[in-house]
């Protein structure tokens, strides 16, 4: 039998009681940790051996219920699935345990996830279909059609991506990666009839997919490998394919790349801003354009560099384009 290895780890645990505390604080515990313990084991030991008032959510202990998600040294994790030794290897032996969102803390590691569920509700996270109440046979989905869901169906709604998304932290209207993944999951389902309704929701400015900053935090943090940003890209594609893309700065920003590459191979940065913003909108960029020009950062249209063998690029754009705007 493998001998049990252990090491001493310092835990700083976020404490806050909405009903009694004005400010949060951290309690420090120094514990010997064995190689087989996960974060949830430590939370249990602190609660059972040191302070019975420590509050956190736990249920299945098998990484499937999604309630024990918290942050360790800023990284979103499932407490029941993350081994201490792995975390210590990355972060050293001072482990900081916090709720997924400190500003939404109710008691210690328990947060109010209302915003998360509200965002889900916005995208109708369920099949919308006219099915007879007593169907004569099963509604089968072929393996080929099931593959279209990609990994979106694996989401356990733990909220790790939602509370790691920097766009959402600033813009509270933003629907966020978890709900976008859900929007994709049901819209890609062959049995569903509400894809267009959902696409209209995710196509809205400020709340929709266009405000994604593409930081890849959601893909990184997801404990179930849902890869939400891949689904966000799919939703972008579906908006264009459905022909409902509005003519605005966000859509022109994406389409402008194809125009520019077709003309120069490279991106004409100045022209992309002008095309995306329009002739009036572009005015607000004039102060920074002047500052950049003064430092030799703006290439004049007549000096715009072009890719060698540009004819190849043009030919490929002609033959490989799959959508129109």
């Amino acid at each position: 039998m493998e001998s049990i290895k252990s090491q001493q780890v310092t835990f700083k645990v976020f404490r806050f009681n909405e009903e009694t505390d004005y400010l949060p604080y951290y309690n420090t515990y120094v514990l010997d940790v064995t190689h087989e313990e996960v974060v949830l084991d430590i939370l249990n030991r602190i609660k059972w051996d040191h302070d019975g008032s420590l509050s956190y959510r736990r249920s299945c202990r098998h990484g499937i219920c999604g309630v024990c998600s918290i942050k360790v040294n800023g990284k979103g994790i499932l407490a029941c699935k993350s081994r201490l030794f792995d975390l210590v290897e990355v972060f050293g032996n001072e482990i900081i345990i916090e709720p997924l969102s400190t500003k939404r803390a109710i008691k210690d590691l328990i947060i109010d996830k209302k915003d998360f569920w509200d965002k889900h509700a916005q995208v109708k996270p369920y099949l919308v279909s006219d099915i007879e109440e007593h169907p004569a046979q099963e509604h089968l989905v072929s393996p080929h059609d099931a593959e279209k869901l990609l990994e979106a169906d694996y989401c356990i709604q733990c909220g790790a991506c939602h509370y790691s998304c920097p766009a959402l932290a600033i813009n509270e209207e933003f629907i966020g990666p978890a709900a976008f993944a859900a929007a994709y999951r049901f819209s890609a389902d062959v049995r569903d009839d509400a894809a267009l309704q959902r696409l209209h929701v995710v196509n809205e400015e400020t709340q929709g997919v266009w405000d994604c900053v593409k930081c890849m935090e959601c893909a990184e943090v997801c404990p179930k490998d849902v890869n939400p940003i891949e689904k966000i890209t799919k939703l972008h594609n579906m908006v264009f394919e459905a022909g409902i893309a509005k003519n605005n700065v966000a859509t022109r920003h994406a389409v402008g790349f194809a125009h520019s590459i077709n003309k120069h191979g490279l991106l004409d940065e100045g022209e992309l801003v002008r095309y995306s913003e329009g002739n009036i909108g572009v005015m607000k960029h004039i102060p920074e354009a002047i500052a950049m020009f003064a430092k030799g950062k703006i290439v004049m249209p007549w000096n715009m560099p072009k890719s060698k063998n540009l004819d190849e690029v043009k030919k490929l754009i002609k033959s490989s384009s799959t959508v129109k705007f």
């Binding site: 994604c212 900053v213 490279l266 995306s276 920074e288 705007f325």
Partner: protein
């Protein structure tokens, strides 16, 4: 050691709004005896936006770029994080999906090209660290940057998603990246730790969501300032554009004046190797580089 030789994919920014990046990259390569062949045939990577419009077209164009590195039989080196992400993502998708690769190759055949998957794709930062070696680099330092507190700003698209990036970045952990810190130390500088060093600068949402982008930029600069940094360094020209050019908007969004000189990664290395400010294009910065 055999002379290092790479195919350099400059990306668009280094040819337009950050000429100092290309200049300093070539200067550093020259100092270290690294040979860089410019891929002048390459087109734009789509900067993570073209694929939102037309994913297949984005794949075909990125695959074409890699074909030219393959023709030279060289590893492709990028100097922009977003070029790195888009190119590496394309490579990964084609290398793991024969059906998709065949579809893309059917298009490339029209222009007499074939994507084979024989060239690796890596960012210049990681080529310097893994192929050239930090110890060897440190031994070449002529002007140690020891009087400077330098804040590393990693940029998302070199470190996330780690599953993809770890194929070329030596297993960097996105929650605790070390490469740029190690490089600062190798150059004799003092690396500054701050919370935003591995966070997003907001560049990709700048046009459609200016407030979000400005706050993210502001947070990054403020984090570095509060950690007592003298200047910042980044391997990504898109982060550089946000941090160097857009700090007025960021200051306004934050309600606090934020500005710090920001160097491109090769500019920092070049300074330590004894390159002149002119060789590194330090005159191209909007936020004045006032310490050289």
């Amino acid at each position: 050691m055999e002379k290092l030789k790479y195919a350099l994919y400059t990306g668009c920014t280094a040819r337009e709004s950050t000429p100092e990046l290309l200049k300093s990259t070539l200067a550093v390569a020259d100092k270290l005896g690294i040979e860089l062949i410019l891929l002048d045939e390459a087109s734009c990577c789509g900067a993570s936006h073209l694929q939102d419009y037309d994913d297949f077209l984005s794949l075909v164009l990125n695959a074409r770029n890699i074909c030219y590195a393959e023709k030279l039989g060289l590893t492709m080196v990028t100097i922009c994080n977003t070029c790195q992400l888009n190119t590496a993502m394309t490579k990964h998708r084609l290398d793991t999906n024969p059906e998709l690769k065949a579809k893309v190759n059917a298009k490339l055949a029209e222009v007499g090209l074939e994507y084979k998957g024989t060239s690796e794709v890596t960012h210049f930062l990681y080529a310097l660290i893994q192929d050239y070696g930090l110890e060897k680099l440190a031994a070449k330092v002529q002007v140690p940057l020891s009087q400077f507190n330098i804040a590393p700003f990693y940029g998302c698209h070199n470190i996330r998603p780690s599953e993809l990036q770890n194929l070329s970045n030596g297993g960097e952990n996105p929650y605790m990246p070390t490469s740029l810190d190690d490089l600062i130390i190798a150059c004799g500088g003092v690396n500054v730790n701050y919370e935003e060093k591995n966070k997003c600068c907001g560049f990709h949402a700048e046009l459609q969501s200016p407030r979000t982008a400005a706050i993210l930029t502001g947070n990054a600069i403020a984090g570095a300032m509060d950690a007592n940094a003298d200047w910042m360094v980044t391997p990504c020209p898109l982060c550089h554009l946000k941090l160097d050019v857009q700090n007025h908007g960021a200051s306004k969004a934050l309600g606090r004046d934020v500005h710090l000189p920001v160097l491109h990664m090769p500019q920092m290395v070049g300074l330590a190797l004894g390159c002149t400010p002119a060789e590194l294009g330090l005159n191209h910065h909007v936020t004045k580089v006032d310490f050289v």
